[in-house]
């Protein structure tokens, strides 16, 4: 149903248009605006009453005047979905961007998405091997998990995300992921980097891209991830695909939220972001997982850049409260020339416990991971002490741990962008590196694994 066109705009403010004297308009209804120069813009109802309707305009309000015609489309925002989505590139509002035809809808789905009933979820427990040692050993990724990358500007988070997208697989399986890629306000250069990499590896044929770039309307970013997740849910829960959703950059998304909040003159929360940002982010992140009786899955890999490298900034902070862990990229390691510069110490995978061990990775995984982590943490701490008291003041154990922290970064963390290490290779590498420490200091390793895997005993 397409209703009549109103010319009753009273105010325009930021991304918002206010109008009155309409017939009853639904909350969340989709709106088109026709400008006097013929341009068409789209929007959505944010507030509706007998007297006043507030519309958020996705493409921004530039050139909108009080003469613009407003039509209410009678329905909430829906995305046409079908398996034809796979292999396509769409813009931030879901229109073809690759010159291809419109998507022929098999069905249309509300992009807000309904919450998965917690009772209907299934616990994720399939280990995904990313081939990146730091992740596989210390923050193991599980199919159906939401695990963000906390990065900052100028760091190689895109390379890491792409490496994971290329290499991620279930151990002993060649079941492939469909990648749903969602760009929010990134530069054309970054986008081209993603796109050409996906093209180069042939992954593009198995991917859906939703692209809102830095010079695209900021407000559109509010819907871009919802479109991407709607496509992901369709592919996963209707068509049995295992979907890997990469979205970047969540920071731009949150800034768009803040912009709308400011235009509505809402009382801001911390640092000007809306008080409901936690809930809003949860409505995206919680669209990951597995559900009972469905074969597919949604794994999410959101990327965010921490303003000022500050992990307590509301964007990483609220994300960390919702996601199932985080992978933290370190500027310090990056400056030392280490790729991937993952700081394992503040990184965490909350679901790791359920996916590692004898049946899935290897029996010694947990023990090795705990020991590598502990030894590295102690070694790093000793660097601080050495700076004060000098290396000579250290006892033998501390000296070994201090040296190990360097080896950990140089030999364990460091790998090339196309180096795909199996989990066995990663674990074997750990044993080799740990053998530089006296076994009596390796208190977190079970004796039975030392007997079986330590290079001294293997020979």
């Amino acid at each position: 149903m397409t209703g009549k066109e109103y010319r009753t705009i009273t105010d325009v403010k930021g991304p918002l248009v206010f109008l009155n004297k309409t017939e009853p308009v639904a909350f969340g209804e989709i709106v088109t605006l026709r400008l006097s120069n013929g341009t068409i813009k789209n929007g959505q109802v944010l507030d509706t009453s007998d007297d006043l309707v507030i519309v958020q305009v996705f493409e921004g309000t530039s050139k909108i005047d009080r003469e613009a015609g407003v039509t209410f489309m009678g329905d909430v925002f829906k995305l046409p979905v079908s398996t034809d989505l796979v292999g396509r590139i769409l813009d931030g509002a879901g229109r073809p961007r690759d010159g291809g035809p419109e998507i022929v809808a098999e069905q249309k789905e509300d992009i807000i998405g309904a919450a998965i009933n917690p009772y209907s979820r299934q616990s994720p427990n399939d280990f995904i091997q990313t081939g990146v040692s730091a992740i596989d050993l210390c923050t193991s990724l599980v199919r159906g998990q939401k695990l963000p990358i906390f990065s900052a500007s100028g760091l190689p988070h895109n390379d890491i995300a792409l490496q994971i997208a290329r290499q991620a697989k279930l151990k002993d399986s060649d079941e492939e992921f469909v990648v749903v890629f969602c760009a929010m306000g990134i530069t054309a250069e970054e986008y081209n980097f993603f796109r050409s990499d996906l093209e180069r590896t042939g992954a593009l044929e198995n991917a859906v891209l939703f692209v809102n770039l830095a010079d695209d309307p900021a407000v559109e970013r509010i819907i871009t991830p919802r479109l991407a997740l709607t496509a992901a849910e369709y592919l996963a829960f209707e068509k049995d695909y295992h979907v890997l959703v990469i979205y970047t950059d969540m920071t731009n998304y949150c800034d768009a939220l803040r912009q709308i909040g400011a235009a509505r003159e809402e009382v801001p929360g911390r640092r000007g972001y809306p008080g409901y940002m936690y809930t809003d982010l949860a409505m995206l992140y919680e669209r990951a997982g597995l559900v009972k009786g469905k074969k597919g899955s949604i794994t999410q890999f959101p990327i965010l850049t921490m303003p000022g490298d500050d992990i307590t900034h509301p964007i990483p902070d609220l994300s960390g409260y919702i996601t199932e862990g985080q992978i933290v990229i370190s500027r310090e390691l990056h400056q030392q020339g280490i790729y991937p510069p993952i700081n394992v110490l503040p990184s965490l995978s909350r679901l790791m416990g359920s996916c590692i061990g004898e049946k899935t990775t290897r029996e010694d995984h947990k023990s090795v991971s705990d020991q590598m982590y502990a030894a590295y943490a102690q070694g790093r701490e000793l660097r601080g002490l050495v700076a004060i008291v000098g290396e000579d003041a250290l006892n033998e154990r501390d000296k070994q741990l201090l040296d190990f922290s360097g080896v950990f970064e140089d030999k364990f963390l460091r790998q090339t962008r196309d180096e795909d290490r199996s989990i066995e290779e990663t674990l074997d590498l750990c044993w080799t590196l740990m053998s530089s420490i006296d076994t009596k200091y390796l208190v977190r390793l079970d004796q039975k694994w030392i007997d079986k895997y330590h290079p001294d005993n293997k020979a």
């Binding site: 309904a114 919450a115 917690p118 929360g269 409505m283 902070d317």
Partner: protein, 579 residues
């Protein structure tokens, strides 16, 4: 005005209706789909409603119907083992009606109204009964006898009382004045259930977590806050409490947190055994899951739904423990609704009434004499999620003003993988005085003194550490180096407890005491050996000490520990001769 009006405005979860007579907290049905909502503000002839389901697609002009009831929960046999959303709709029923995604407009009974229970009366015809009095019971689960009580507002003489098989809506008792009673009753969630009097708590809630029971004990009927940044262990701690604490009943509220965490509880609990009773854990548990992506208004209601259920079981004379993970999400739901109401904001955008709401909620904890003269309690443990981990924010501060126990989680400890990451230097419990007698009578006469020694050693360690940071530990005199060793043993052997370990995740309180004593025995033995010339290094490295420490991961430790301590002290004494 009638009880039917029309929608005037919709702004997210807040809907305004006109033309309808309404009172505060009336439950209304909104729109053609009849979405459930609650009146939260009156403005002239406009009623402002918070709606418990998604409002997109709803239009001004659609009808609103006032049910003239207040938001209530159904109470009766069938509550246990259930998992509800914030407004007490069972999630399994929603799955049946809607599939795996929660859509809207579906009503669901809180429990099976047709299920037959065997009711055994405890009063006879002619007896005088008063509100809250137990008139009979059913065996609801293997562990829990569900007592059927006269609704708090009724009383009179029993005219007839049944015995045998009934469902929860059939009348089982009639009073002379014609009042009919069923096994199911309703209670408005925002009104605390009445009791005769509150007692001062005098019994600890034993949790099986050493740092909690030993250093910062919580009383049955008390309230505790667990603030901590993300990843510091709020949820693992809350889940451990739900598994191991010696409450008779547990109400677990997942308030605005992750879906998968509730799934985990649902997967795990049915296979777990309550270490206190040896019975399946699920049978003493009621769960409420209103996750972060479910409607915020229902999240706001979820804590009230939970605590009302807890009070109801308290009124039967049970010790109930309630966990709310996380109260910050509840506070944020209040903030979101308040901002839609365009209320004048207080600190950080929270409504001015935030701290009084927090206080009112925790005040519903307590150990009471019930209306029927029994002793029952509700213990409340609330997680708090301060932005950036900084507890100077309003929710943490509002909580700390009211709770008597503060278990402060520490990001630094979590990063060192010291779990539970509870900071022993800034956490506190204001209960020890009132609980010491219980510990003396039930565990050991010197329990409080042992606690004082242990926490004293941790204090001294923190002071010594400051010196070590500057000069290194080798520069300290050996007696202080020994103190550091003892403190390290306290931290690594006693305070650390892996919440996922098969054996060590739960530690019996008697064993806790023995472990603390073992540490002090080590200290004494080491001191006297060193006084006779033994070397610190030899003393610390006796193999029997690491055996003693590793023993906690084995079953049967409680029986073995004393002889392990003897072996250790003998070995330490022998280091003197070695010299």
């Amino acid at each position: 005005m009638s009880n039917e009006g029309v929608i005037y405005r919709i702004s997210g979860p807040v809907v305004t209706a006109t033309g309808m007579s309404a009172a505060m907290y009336d439950v209304v049905r909104v729109g053609h789909e009849g979405l459930m909502g609650e009146v939260i503000e009156l403005h002239g002839e406009k009623a402002v409603i918070q709606v418990y389901e998604d409002t997109s697609g709803i239009r001004p002009g659609e009808p609103v119907l006032n049910t003239q009831e207040t938001l209530s929960v159904s109470l009766g046999p069938g509550l246990l083992t259930q998992i509800y959303d914030g407004i007490q709709r069972p999630l399994p029923t929603l799955e049946k009606e809607m599939g795996v995604f929660i859509t809207r407009g579906v009503d669901a009974d809180a429990f099976d109204l047709e299920k037959i229970w065997t009711f055994e009366p405890q009063v006879a015809v002619g007896d005088e009964v008063v509100g809250g009095q137990v008139i009979g019971h059913v065996q609801e689960t293997e562990t829990i006898i569900h007592k059927i009580m006269v609704p708090p507002t009724a009383n009179g003489t029993v005219k007839s009382i049944e015995s045998g098989d009934f469902n929860v809506t059939q009348t089982i008792c009639v009073l002379e004045d014609g009042t009919e009673m069923q096994m199911m009753q309703k209670w408005p969630v925002r009104t605390p259930r009445p009791f005769q009097q509150k007692y001062a708590p005098d019994t600890p809630l034993i949790t099986g977590m050493r740092i909690l029971d030993f250093l910062f004990p919580l009383a049955k009927g008390g309230a505790a806050g667990i603030p901590g940044p993300f990843g510091s262990g709020k949820t693992v701690t809350q889940q451990s409490l739900a598994k191991y604490s010696d409450a008779q009943l547990v109400v677990y509220i997942g308030c605005g947190e992750r879906g998968n965490e509730m799934t985990e509880v649902l997967d795990e609990f049915p296979h777990l055994i309550d270490p206190n009773t040896g019975k399946p854990l699920m049978e003493r548990t009621v769960m409420i899951a209103n996750t972060s992506n479910m409607p915020v208004a229902a999240r706001e209601a979820s804590v009230y739904t939970g605590i009302t259920i807890a009070e109801y079981f308290r009124d039967m004379g049970y010790d109930v423990a309630l966990m709310a993970d996380s109260t910050s999400r509840w506070a944020e739901a209040m903030r979101e609704i308040s901002s839609r109401l365009e209320e004048m904001p207080g600190e950080e955008g929270y409504p001015a009434y935030l701290s009084s709401r927090i206080a009112e909620f925790y005040e519903r904890a307590g150990r009471v004499e019930t209306l029927s003269g029994d002793d029952g309690s509700v213990t409340v443990i609330g997680a708090v999620s301060p932005p950036g981990g900084d507890i100077s924010e309003p929710v943490s501060q509002g909580t700390l003003r009211i709770v008597k126990v503060f278990w402060g989680l520490d990001a630094g400890l979590a990063r060192q993988r010291h779990f539970p990451a509870i900071n022993w230097l800034n956490s506190y419990s204001l209960y020890p005085q009132s609980l010491d007698q219980w510990f003396r009578d039930n565990i050991s006469q010197d329990f409080p003194e042992v606690r004082t020694q242990i926490s004293g050693l941790l204090q001294i360690e923190s002071e010594l550490q400051e010196i070590v940071q500057l000069v290194g530990s080798d520069a300290l005199p050996t007696d202080q180096q020994l103190t550091l060793e003892v403190a390290r043993m306290i931290r690594e052997f006693f305070l650390q407890q892996n919440g996922f370990h098969d054996v060590d995740a739960y530690c019996d309180i008697h064993l806790q005491y023995k472990m603390a004593k073992a540490i002090l025995s080590f200290q004494d033995a080491a001191k006297s050996a060193m006084a006779s010339g033994a070397q610190l290094n030899d003393v610390v490295n006796v193999p029997s000490r690491s055996d003693l420490m590793r023993g906690r991961f084995e079953k049967g430790y409680v029986d073995a520990i004393e002889s392990m301590v003897d072996t250790m002290t003998a070995e330490i004494a022998a280091t003197v001769e070695d010299n």
